[in-house]
Each structure stands twice: as structure tokens, then as C-alpha cells.
Assembly symmetry: C2
Homo-oligomer: 615 residues x 2
């Protein structure tokens, strides 16, 4: 047996922070994305009737956009019936059936735009689109029991196996944009058919090892065999999709070489190349990882999809060997660099998630037409390259899948995330019901009841950020030292209640001094939530604000945004008119108002800052 | 009478800091620039025999490059005979004579490359080149008494008057790159012919007021009549050349409207848009001024020529109304953002003068071909656009012209700059000999003897950076309060000695908090010299170094660079491996070694930082 994350299907999020977001997702966001995708021709493109000269020419990544939307709909349908969504998906599936090639091939772009170029252009996202369609088909089957879509995609996967593995007849050996690897593992786990697992392993094994067919590019992680890779390189979404697929294969085959590579890649990301928000890929050039400690704030790329992909990677690492550090990273992502990608009204999205906005920088070239590039300061409903919106909807709808892991001993239940929820799952032969009551992340109290776990171990992740914690079992304080980031409770009754108390009081985060961008600055965090200053609350020149080392934090609820805010004692330089003068270090006390980073840019376009001075 | 700066001709720099630099200039730099200009075809271009298909096609700014070199040679010749230099200039003058049009026109590019386009392309630098040739001709006449070059250029100026003023027949009314304005005033002052002064005024008056002929561009300061301009805009060299011309006209015509504009423009630059080094023009886009308080450090443009142009502007403002603040800016420029443009060996140049170098930033895009742009980290001997090198040579050779101003009352001698020197000049009818003995800027002691000034006023600039100062007259302490930045000594003897003591001890400079880039940081200055940290002395991650508020400064002589250095008590963050952690604020004491900013990048390419943390 291997460690297995418990499916989103087994957990119902019943209240609190994530219930609000799942409700918004199923009431607003899923339709907002659908409508924009319809406007832009993405849904109609499945009719495969576009011809030269017509508007709305399909792009080669459109299949994947809609596939992720279908997958999102499936997750929503898995929790409750919704005729409208089901009809939409069925209609799309019918179009796929109608337009699928006899041999199983399906791709809009390479059917209507470049039909003669199938499997000849490595970077044209065919296998990426196939992977997303496969994921959608699996999710739709799991949600509804309908197997038509799944069968169509099995047929396609069989064709891919033929072309890429049996005949080796495509003009490239491995995809330019990874995704098919993890999708095939999912298809295997759903169908039990090992050929899909082996095809996934084939792509993993071939990557960077087949210099005869493709350019060895660092950009798409094919610069060397994946087992030899030690640092996270290139396009960050592609990278973490690859690493996720590698982690699946490592878990399935107990592949030690892959595990060594994965441990190093994960460590390189989280200890060298990740924003404090969990954002990754610091350069817009190639949407890519750059070099260790290179984390500029105003021009951070930190794509929303990249944050999602890091959560996917971290979640899968926990299946290789459960450790609280993986849940820590998932948590960092979901409360910060992922969630900032979505507006609080659920309708619009950031593709890039900067950690600082200085609007004046955008107006500086008054006398010369300059092509300087900055992240948006206001979320958009749809992008030309609109990978992020449906990635957000599917991630929120399936976030329950990050909560529990069943240990390989079938004896330990790891609680990775804290969300108000009810779950029913199998722990070996035991039927377990586990409930969480909590107002996390605003409150560090999590009350857990576990039924059916007598003789088993309940392992609660103790986040690294929590300076102290207590656990009470049935009202009695337990003295537990965490190991591998989990406080392990030996359950001695059919039903126990465990009251976990984490310390979510605000604290300063310091950054490794090798990160130039953050020298002399701190971030403010409370629980897993990273905070920021916005100009609307604090006035201009945010970089001048210096938080007191005795900040007298005041935590408040801010109804307008539906979030917790933090006030802190701070200082500003006493204004003077000269540009330069002999330093007088004159300060004025002021109040700094922090809001959660994920909530920035929801009122008006204004300056924003995560890393503040401190004194 | 107007206030008049005393000519470089009247002052011999006899020792110390600027003697060393003038010697290097006349022994090394003048020939280094000549040789590179010969290599690149700039000298031969004066033969005007280039034809299509030949290499070394003349550029439309080549006349100006060589003209500035000729002007430099003239300044050197004005102090001592040098057959080699004189021959070079004479040969060039002969070529100009040979190739000058009958009507007086002379321009290499518009003779051999686009002969049909004379005076049709506003931005093609024709009048700019003419201005530099005129300046060179005046300087050469002043240095040698030879008037051939001057006559040729008078003829050209007459033709320019005809085309631009009398007939108004050019396709533009005012130059795209200013320079002719100040050059014509110089020609007037040399020849006494008022038509040149009036032609200069004509260009000043027409600028931004003749929308019929040219685009109203902020880039070249023609967006509005110059008398209405209040903020420094566009290409910064063009701007300060224009403002210099405006100041000349304002002084000559006692033009109040121009003075109002100039006061505002000067104030806008020095209190809103100037680096602490005296560098201006913070964006490489258009080599331009941007917006108030926009002074990024690693990508500072701060062109060497722009620093020179600011000194030119400030020096001329002192002629309108003497004030120590003008000498302060000249001083800031000459010891910092100008001088950094020249290597200590006198052979190579910076075009851009950044205030921070982080070499890692240049290597970040490992997976994608990115066209990011950064200033050079090593000086070059010649540039394609090589305006700076000959501007450096002419500026150093004529720097004596910034030392003294004779007041309009012909009774006051303003001492604007401190340099070891002997000068002979007229103050009204009096013949004055004034000598300075000093090791300035390393030492704040300046011993001045003045002969022939009985009944006159000797006004010593008290730099704003000097927290305290003393003046002893003939050994007795004088109690003088500076007015308008000058300590005024009423001279009561035929010969007096004045001992000025300025405080050149190191001090921190703070920046207006509206400058985002410098928030929480200070610069280190001693006297007028701004200091910086280099990686070679301080290790990597310079931004992490925090100078102690009790820095225990140790001032030392550093023979290798021939400069004073400053050691200070400082702190670095105690190293840790994590990327982020709960802040512990652990520091380790270290020693920070500062060198003068002007001396950076003279040992090896490495990181550099002006604005350091302080605590």
C-alpha cells in the first residue's frame, strides 16, 4: 500500500472560510467563466466548424481551458445535482464524440486550423490539452457515473500510447507542456488499467533523455533526464505539473531515483525560489523560475496557475512520505498566492500576483514611448491566455482533496488542512467519520471529532508558523511532540474529540538576507495568512512606513471585505521638502492597517506592499 | 554690469585633486579619446570623402564628438604649448575650411550622406553639431589667438542666422537637440557681435512657440514656450543645455520671465529629480527626466553628459544671482556623478552611472531569451554614441571656470569652488591675485590669500553639507554668518590670508521619503564626496549591510585607488538557511568599507551600492 490522499469526494466542506468560497464558486464563478468562454468562442469551438476567415479562430490551448471548466463543473456536480451544468458538460461531450477522429484523436486546433500538423509541433499543447480532457473525463465519471466522456478519452489515451510509445511515430517524444503525465495516472487510478500508468512513466522516463527528437530546453524541463534534475527550472506551471506527475510515478513505483530528484526540487522551490505568498515563477520572461533568491516584488510574475501547481506538487509529495511541511506549503498557497488570483466577488482574476504595486512607476516615462511591463492592478474576467480562471474554479471545487491522507500502514490518518467539514472514509477496513469545527484561518481553534478510529493514529499537522500549540483529547491536555510536522494521537476510543489550538496571533516573517528585494523588511503573517498594506488604508509611499517592533497588534474584523485586518503601531518619516539632507531620522508615529494579501485590489486600484520596513 | 564667472583662462590649478585629474586628462585621456575617434573614422570623416558602400559611414553626431575633442585640446593648449595637439586641431580646421559650403554651411553627415536634406530633419543634430563647432572655435581662438576656425564658424553662424532668422526657410524653427543657443552666446561674448546673441535669443524665444513647423515634444523641451516651463522634462542633456542657454540669455537681457522659469526648473531638478550623486535623467527611455521622486538605483541612467550639463546650468545660474546653492550643485556633480564617468586610469568611460549594481539580476532569465537592459558594470573606451568621452575631457580641462564669479557690483569676488590654484583676475579696475592652498575634498582646510582686494568683498561659499565652519582672517577668527550661502569677508588690507575650515567628517544623508527607492536607507557623504559599498570590499548581498547609527567612522587613505575610504561599524543578518521564518532579527557586527562613488568599478566588476540600511 502507498500513502493516499483522501478524495475530495469523501469530504463535505460544511462551513467557514472554504464553504463561503465553494458557494461563491458554484453560484458565481463557474458561470462567469463559462460566459466569458462562450463570448470568446471557446465553447462553440468544440463544434469544430471553424474555417479560415471566420472570427474566433481557435487557439491550441482552448481545449484545455474548457476541459478545466468541465472538470470544475464535475466537482460541483459531485456534491449536488445541477441540471444546467450537467447539460453544458453533456453537450460538450457530445461534440467531442462527434468530432473525435476514428483513431481516437481529439484536438480542436489540429482538426480545424492545422489538421496536417498533428503531433508534429512539440510546443503546441496537444498532449497538454489531452491531459486536461482526461482529467475532466475522470472527474465527470466520478461525479455522475456517466462513462461516455471517460470512454472517449480512454480511446484517445490508447491512441496516444500507440503513437508515442508503441510506434514512436510522433515528431516529438515528450510534451512541450507537461500535464498528460499526471492525467494518465489519474486515468489509471480510475480505470485500474495499468497501460495508462505505464504510458505516464514512459513520458517521465523519456523526458530530457531523447535528445534526438527535440531540443533540450531548460524552459520546459527537458534539459536533462528528470531523475537528474535538482533545481526547479523553466516555465513554473509546466515544472510543477511535471513534478506532480513524477511524484505520482514515484509513489506508484516506489521509484527511489525519482524521490531523490523530487525532494531536491521541492526543497529548491520552497527554500530558494518561492514568494512568501506561495507564488512561484518570478519572471514573466518564460513565466519561469529564475535563480535562487531572485524574488522581485513589483514585477513578480507568480502566476495563479503556478501557485495551484505548487499545491498540486506539495499535496502529492505528502503521498510519498507524509510530512507537515507539505501541508504547510499547500496552506501557504491556498490562503495567499492562489487566492489572490480571484476577486472577492468571484468574477475576475489575476494572472500575475505581484507583491508590490507602485503605480507611479507606470507613469514615469512621460517623454518617450516606453514598453515597460507591469502586472495588472485590477483583476480581469477573461484573458486571451485564460488558463487561470478555470484552474481557479476546479481548484476551489476540489480543495477538499488536500485535507486528509491515509498512511501506507492504513493505520494513520493525516490531517493536512483545517476546514470546517464532515468526512467519511476508509482507514484500512475501518469506516471513519471525521468532522472539523473551526473558524480557521481567523481562529486557531479546531475541534475534531473522530469516530471509528480506535487503535488508529490521528496525525494533526502542526504548522511551522504556530509558535505554540495545544491538543486536548476529550477535554484533557495531551503532551505531544510533533514528529515530521504532525502531532500524533493514539486513538483509544470509538469516538474522540480533539481540540487543537494553534497560535494565529500576528507575527513578523523575515526573509533570507540573500533575497536582495526584501533586505531590511518583514512580512506580517497571522496563521497562514500573509498580510499587505494598501494605499487606500495607509496613504501613499507605503515603502516609507516602518512597523514598530512593539507593534501592539489589533486584530479586527473588516466587514467590507469579509476579512480579518490587523492594525499596528508604525512610523513614517516626518515630512520634509528637500530631496536630500543631513540625516535627522525624525519619525512620526502612525497606524498601519494590514489586510490579507489575497484581498488586495478589491476596492480601488492603488499601491500595495507586502514587505514593510520594521524598527 | 552682470555677474560674470571668471574664465578658466584666469585660473591655474596648481596642485591637489584637480591638478591630478587635469594632468591625467592632458597626458592620457585626450589621446585615448583621439585614438578611439580615429579608429572609428570620426577624424577622417572631416575629409568628407565617404561614399555609399564604404565602411565607417559618418553619423550625424560625429561633428560634435570631434568638436568637443577640439575644444578639449584648446583648453589644454591655453595652459601650455603642445605641438601634437595643435597640429591635430589645425589639420581638422583645414578640412573644415576645405569642405565648408560656400554659403558657410558645414556638416559632415549632410555633406556626404544626405546632402539634399540639410535643415529638414529637426532631430538630426545639425544645429547641435554647429554649436559644438562654434564652442571649439571660440576656445581655440582664446587658447592660441589663431582666428581661422573662428572665422569659419562665424560664417556658418551667419548662414544659420540667414536660414533660421532672416529667411525662416528651414523645415524646422528650433533645434531638436539644443546647444546652439549657449554656443551663440559664447560666440557673441568672444566677438562682441550682437547678432549672435540675438540669434540665440531667437532660438530661445521660438522654442515651443512655433507649433506650425514642428511637433510639440516634451522629449526635447518644445512642448510649450520655454518661459512657461516649470518642471525639467525630456532628454536631460538637451534640457540642461537649453536651460544653460536660457540662463545666458536671462543674464544678458536681464529677462525676468526667463529667470522665473529658470528658478523653477533648477528647483525642480535639485529638489525632485536629481540623484544624490548629481546624476539626472533617471530613465534610459529617452535618456530623460521622468517624474518627481522617481530615482531608481540599479537602472539609473544618469548619463555622464547629463551631469556635466547640470553643472553647466548651475554655474550659469550663479551668474544670474550668486548663491551658494549653485556651487553646491556644481560641487555635487564634479565629485560624484560626473567623475564616476571616467576610469581612474583616464582611459575609459561610463555613459550611464547607476547607483547600485546587482549582477545576479542580469543572470536571472536562465530559461528564456529576455531583452532586459542594465547599465554597464565596466567602463568602455568608446561608444557608438560617444558624446560622453570628449565631454569629460573638455569639462576637466576647463573646470577652473567654475571657481570664481565676479559680482555685478564689481566689488565682490565669489569663491564657488575650492581647488589648489593661482588666479589673476580683474575686479572692477583692481588687479587681483588669489591663491588657494588645500587638500580638498579630503581635507576641509582651505587657505586663501588675496592680493589687491582692499575695500572689496571676498565671498566664500559655505557648502550646505558643512555642519560647522570657521574662517580666520590673518590668523584671527572672524564671526561671519553666511548670506545666500556665502561667508562674506570685507577685505581691509592689500593682502589678506583667509583660513576656511569646513567640516568634511563623514555623515549620513537621508532622502525625501517620497523616493520609494531609498526608503529606510541612507547615503554616506564626507565633504562633497558621496560614498558607496563595493562587493570586492564587503562581500556579496550589499543590501543586507546595515550601518550602525554609532558608526565609529574611520577615515583612511587607500593608495590602490588614490582615494580616501571610510570604514564604519555595521551589521549583517546572521545567516540562516530557510527562505522565510518567524523574524528573529539576529545580527552580526561587521565592518563596512566605503569608497568614493566616483571610484567604483575600477578594480573588478562587482556589486555596488550607494544607499545602505542604517540602524
Amino acid at each position: 500500500m502507498r500513502n493516499k490522499n483522501v478524495s475530495y469526494k469523501n469530504i463535505d466542506i460544511t462551513g467557514g472560510f472554504w464553504k463561503d468560497r465553494q458557494d461563491l464558486n458554484k453560484i458565481v464563478t463557474i458561470y462567469a467563466v463559462r460566459d466569458r468562454f462562450k463570448d470568446t468562442g471557446r465553447f462553440d469551438a468544440f463544434k469544430c466548424d471553424w474555417t479560415e476567415g471566420k472570427p474566433k479562430k481557435p487557439h491550441f490551448f482552448w481545449d484545455s481551458d474548457v476541459a478545466k471548466w468541465m472538470e470544475s463543473a464535475a466537482y460541483i456536480l459531485s456534491k449536488e445535482r445541477n441540471e444546467e451544468l450537467e447539460k453544458e458538460v453533456d453537450a460538450l461531450v457530445d461534440l467531442i464524440e462527434k468530432n473525435q477522429d476514428e483513431n481516437g484523436y481529439f484536438n480542436i486546433y489540429f482538426t480545424v486550423v492545422e489538421p496536417d500538423e498533428r503531433f508534429t509541433i512539440r510546443d503546441a499543447h496537444e498532449l497538454y490539452c489531452a491531459g486536461h480532457l482526461i482529467e475532466a473525463a475522470v472527474a465527470y465519471y466520478e461525479a455522475t457515473g456517466k462513462d461516455k466522456f471517460l470512454k472517449l478519452m480512454k480511446k484517445y489515451a490508447d491512441y496516444i500510447e500507440k503513437v508515442f510509445k508503441i510506434e514512436d511515430s510522433a515528431e516529438f517524444a515528450t510534451p512541450g507542456h507537461e500535464e498528460i503525465e499526471l492525467a494518465l495516472v489519474r486515468l489509471y487510478r480510475c480505470t485500474g488499467e495499468e497501460k495508462y500508468l505505464n504510458l505516464s512513466k514512459h513520458f517521465i522516463d523519456s523526458r530530457g533523455a531523447r535528445g534526438d527528437k527535440e531540443e533540450l530546453m531548460i524552459y520546459n524541463q527537458s534539459h536533462m533526464p528528470v531523475r537528474e534534475q535538482r533545481t526547479a527550472e523553466g516555465h513554473s506551471v509546466r515544472a510543477c505539473y511535471l513534478y506532480s506527475g513524477m511524484a505520482d510515478i514515484a509513489a506508484e513505483f516506489d521509484d527511489e531515483e525519482l524521490k531523490v530528484a523530487l525532494n531536491s526540487l521541492f526543497d529548491n522551490i520552497v527554500n530558494r525560489r518561492m514568494y512568501v505568498t506561495g507564488g512561484i515563477g518570478s519572471s514573466h520572461h518564460g513565466e519561469a523560475f529564475t535563480i535562487d533568491y531572485d524574488l522581485p516584488n513589483p514585477n513578480a510574475y507568480a502566476e495563479t496557475c503556478a501557485a495551484i501547481s505548487l499545491a498540486m506538487f506539495a499535496g502529492r509529495m505528502n503521498e510519498i512520505r507524509p510530512n507537515g511541511k507539505y501541508g504547510d506549503i499547500v496552506e501557504k498557497v491556498i490562503y495567499n498566492g492562489f487566492l489572490s488570483g480571484l476577486s472577492l466577488d468571484g468574477k475576475s482574476f489575476f494572472y500575475e500576483n505581484p507583491l508590490e504595486i507602485v503605480r507611479a512607476d507606470r507613469t514615469r516615462n512621460v517623454s518617450w514611448p516606453a514598453k515597460e511591463r507591469f502586472p495588472l492592478t485590477k483583476r480581469k474576467e477573461v484573458f486571451d491566455c485564460s488558463c487561470c480562471p478555470p484552474n481557479v474554479t476546479r481548484f476551489i471545487a476540489s480543495i477538499g482533496g488536500y485535507v486528509y491522507t491515509v498512511g501506507s500502514d492504513e493505520n494513520t490518518l493525516y490531517v493536512n488542512q483545517y476546514m470546517e467539514s464532515v468526512s467519511n472514509l476508509k482507514l484500512g477496513d475501518a469506516d471513519v467519520e471525521i468532522t472539523q469545527k473551526t473558524n480557521y484561518p481567523w481562529d486557531g481553534k479546531v475541534n475534531i471529532t473522530a469516530k471509528g478510529m480506535k487503535g488508529k493514529t490521528l496525525a494533526l499537522r502542526i504548522p511551522a508558523w504556530s509558535e505554540e500549540f495545544t491538543v486536548e483529547i476529550n477535554g484533557k491536555t495531551a503532551d505531544i511532540k510533533p514528529t515530521d510536522g504532525f502531532a500524533r494521537i493514539e486513538v483509544d476510543a470509538d469516538e474522540i474529540s480533539a481540540a487543537l489550538r494553534l497560535d494565529v496571533s500576528p507575527f513578523f516573517v523575515e526573509c533570507n538576507p540573500k533575497v536582495n528585494a526584501n533586505a531590511g523588511r518583514v512580512a506580517l503573517q497571522a496563521g497562514p495568512v500573509v498580510y499587505c498594506l494598501e494605499e487606500i488604508d495607509n496613504g501613499p509611499n507605503l515603502r516609507d512606513i516602518s512597523i514598530s517592533r512593539e507593534p501592539d497588534f489589533k486584530v479586527k474584523w473588516f466587514d467590507e471585505l469579509g476579512v480579518q485586518i490587523i492594525e499596528a503601531k508604525a512610523f513614517r518619516t516626518k515630512p520634509f521638502d528637500e530631496l536630500y539632507r543631513r540625516a535627522q531620522f525624525e519619525k512620526e508615529e502612525c497606524k498601519a492597517v494590514f489586510i490579507p494579501y489575497f484581498a488586495f485590489a478589491n476596492r480601488e486600484e492603488c499601491d500595495m506592499l507586502v514587505w514593510t520596513k520594521v524598527e
